[in-house]
Subunit: 212 residues, 2 copies
């Protein structure tokens, strides 16, 4: 297998993300995913125990990729406000497949809170929840550092991380790539809103964005 | 039937909300709801075509109740900022059943975007979507009025309504009535955040809350 050829496992995840995001999880049949990948439905069971198992892995991967991006954006950036701006700009630098991932996260996140009896499904569910906790914790630590540094007003970093993630995630429940609102306009609006959420005055938020 | 005795229809909705909110929609069996109401599963079909049909009605009712509350909070209040504060305080004045409704909305909202083939299910789905549009439109008109009145800075009222509703709704995905954070603390934090989202400076938001 070369680096340029995604594994069957990754192909399935990619196809499943597109199907779940476009048609909804319930509507998507396991057989549709198999057909898109070009294998028989039984072959899929070699990789995933069930459609539900596959969904948990899709969710875990999606959340994980946002933590990786978060860490890449903040690494080596000593100024917390410059780092926050970089993170937020990166959060809107999205390929169509990233947007699909986010749409699946918004639509199906409720399924993560329901325990499963199958050990393999339950393991994948817990892994996705662990990825969500890690992403939240990365934000909490970042905000805590920004507060200690005096870059943003001191407040509860846990509630603030919940607020930022909740506001950001909600966008993908209604945003559509071919809708009337272009992504840069949405980005512009929501980056400003995150800056005031963390405690910047509207003037300070504007200045930060102009000078960056 | 007296005013104090909820109809069977309303009893089913109430029981279904508790089950969906606590155990998740997928885990909940139609027979569990029937047992809680004290009727046989077939009797439920007199009121709802399916569990999915019942979910759409639960979602529509939940969203509708927030629009009714929104209108009651803003009616007869000429000052937009005072009205906004009243709305936001009302948004956290929640009985346990209201919180369950909100939890179902967060967890199952993704199902509203998937078309159904059954006419009765599809009708209930479209009705729930219409209630969501009405709630959003009530916010848009309120924010537009506040902008014209000069109470908050002019900006896109549609994106702002999306932001407020998205931030508010996200809370009920993680908030738990018996968790470590008491509801008044959560309310306090998020009401402040909505006031800065609409464009108030942190100082103006504090002053508004102190003088109200």
């Amino acid at each position: 297998m070369t680096r340029h050829q995604p594994s069957k496992h990754d192909q399935i995840l990619s196809v499943a993300t597109e199907r779940f995001g476009r048609d909804g999880y319930d509507t998507t049949k396991w057989a549709d995913i198999a057909a898109d990948v070009g294998v028989g439905p039984t072959a899929l069971y070699h990789y995933f125990e069930s459609k539900q198992h596959c969904l948990y892995v899709v969710l875990g991967r999606a959340i994980e990729s946002f933590r990786t991006r978060f860490e890449a954006s903040t690494a080596g950036q000593p100024d917390p406000l410059a780092a926050l701006l970089t993170v937020m700009e990166d959060c809107f630098d999205l390929a169509p497949h990233d947007i699909m991932q986010l749409r699946v996260v918004v639509a199906e996140q409720g399924r993560l809170s329901v325990q499963r009896t199958s050990p393999r499904e339950e393991e994948a569910r817990e892994a996705a929840l662990a990825r969500a906790r890690e992403l939240r914790l990365a934000w909490v630590m970042f905000l805590e550092h920004a507060m200690e540094h005096g870059s943003i007003p001191a407040d509860d970093p846990r509630l603030l991380a919940r607020a930022i993630l909740g506001l950001y995630t909600s966008i993908w429940g209604w945003y559509r790539p071919n809708g009337v609102l272009p992504l840069p306009r949405v980005a512009d609006f929501f980056i400003d809103r995150v800056l005031v959420l963390v405690g910047l005055t509207p003037d300070a938020a504007r200045e930060l964005r102009m000078t960056a």
